[in-house]
């Protein structure tokens, strides 16, 4: 659960592993202070989200100068798999391409929108649980989710 959420939020397996270790350590250290005001799952989700947010912010600061627009990346390294213009008869390969497109689109979302859509669509949390995990109002969850879906639909629209 923790690893999958970390991976979906950060998009990098190694980063997700590191985040997992941080989260487990924090859970072990702070478990005596857990008051049961929320469910244990929500409490752990909140820790994952906070740690992921910190890590994401740190990573963005550190690598801001190294970020390049998608067009530049495509010009240097070639097009991404989702827009390759040749037929892929193999269904497995097609699913993989679709998954790659989904991850690219997900990683292009702002962190707040990404967290909401991952918690809702992949982890299946209710609006109430998402709000508790993020420490925001339910209305905020609704609006972020609507924007996230809109952005994803724009990115994943078939060409």
């Amino acid at each position: 659960m923790v690893y999958q959420l970390s991976l979906h939020l950060l998009g990098d397996p190694q980063e997700a592993l590191d985040l997992c270790q941080e989260v487990f350590l924090r859970v072990f250290r702070t478990l005596p202070r857990f008051r049961g005001q929320s469910t244990l799952r929500t409490w752990i989700y909140r820790i994952v989200l906070n740690q992921a947010s910190n890590r994401h912010r740190w990573w963005r600061r550190r690598h801001r100068s190294q970020q390049v627009p998608l067009e530049t990346h495509a010009a240097v390294h070639g097009e991404l798999t989702e827009s390759r213009n040749f037929a892929q008869p193999d269904r497995v390969l097609e699913q993989r391409e679709t998954a790659d497109r989904v991850w690219v689109a997900l990683n292009r979302l702002p962190f707040d929108q990404r967290a909401v859509v991952v918690l809702r669509e992949i982890d299946g949390l209710s609006y109430e649980e998402i709000a508790a995990s993020l420490g925001v109002a339910v209305g905020t969850v609704k609006s972020r989710l609507a924007r996230a879906r809109q952005n994803l639909r724009s990115d994943l629209r078939p060409e």
Partner: protein
């Protein structure tokens, strides 16, 4: 064709597919979708995004390293708990040592300041003869004694010093009245005669200080009686048996800055 109703419904489509709408609104949206192909298509599109995300997530396998992380963390926490208190304190306060040193200095300075203040407030003060406390003490203390330089008629050279209670303390008067309670019923002339007898011995005056205690009190009572009679009756001139040449008022006080009890 998009209608105004569609615009209202579309705001709820996300919550509709998440089943987060109240029952009445769920029915209203469902009714609309049954009759509106565009909104139904919108719902399908939103659902497909969710489905794509879930399908993509299923492809992600959890690596075996994750299972080892839990063991590593447990070992790490156990190692932390096994550390000595001294190590924990050193680690916890390692960065605070300068703060603690500063706080200790401030505390020591405060204690010293309190000690000096206590010494100044509670300690003995030097005596001063011009302090306000000394003036108050003088005003409230007994008014002292009157002394007469007096001599029998015709014997001015043998002037003696006679102590007279000036009425400042009722205690002294009461003591004299005990010695001679009938003193108030005799006349001034009789007082003077008895005073002459009391202070003269073999034609010489006897000082009060050399008299026995009882006789000295008797003499003071006589002088007190004379004073009383003279304060209530007109003076009769110097026809008495004593010639008073000088009156001295003597008072003694001890003076300290803190006042006297």
């Amino acid at each position: 064709v998009t209608t105004a109703g569609c615009a209202l419904i579309r705001a709820d489509l996300g919550a509709f597919i998440d089943r987060e709408l109240p029952g009445v609104q769920m029915l209203r949206v469902a009714d609309h979708l049954a009759s509106c192909d565009r909104c139904a298509s919108e719902v399908d599109s939103l659902r497909s995004i969710g489905q794509m995300l879930r399908t993509a997530a299923e492809r992600n396998q959890t690596p075996p390293a994750v299972a080892l992380i839990a063991d590593d963390v447990v070992e790490l926490v156990r190692a932390e708990n096994a550390q000595s208190w001294r190590a924990l304190l050193t680690r916890g306060f390692g960065d605070w040592r300068w703060t603690l040193a500063g706080a200790g200095s401030v505390a020591a300075t405060s204690v010293l300041a309190l000690f000096v203040s206590a010494v100044l407030v509670l300690g003995p003060a030097p005596e001063r003869d011009d302090s306000l406390a000394a003036l108050i003490s003088n005003l409230t203390s007994p008014s002292g004694m009157l002394f007469l330089e007096a001599s029998p008629p015709g014997a001015a050279k043998d002037a003696m010093l006679v102590g007279v209670d000036n009425g400042g303390t009722s205690r002294e008067i009461a003591r004299n009245e005990q010695v001679m309670p009938a003193v108030l019923r005799i006349t001034e002339q009789q007082f003077v005669e008895q005073l002459t007898d009391a202070v003269a011995r073999e034609g010489r005056l006897v000082e009060l200080g050399s008299m026995p205690e009882s006789k000295r009190r008797y003499t003071e009572a006589l002088l007190d009686g004379i004073n009383r009679i003279r304060s209530s009756e007109p003076a009769r001139g110097s026809t008495g048996s004593l010639n008073v040449t000088k009156i001295r008022f003597v008072t003694t006080t001890g003076v300290t800055a803190k006042g006297l009890n």
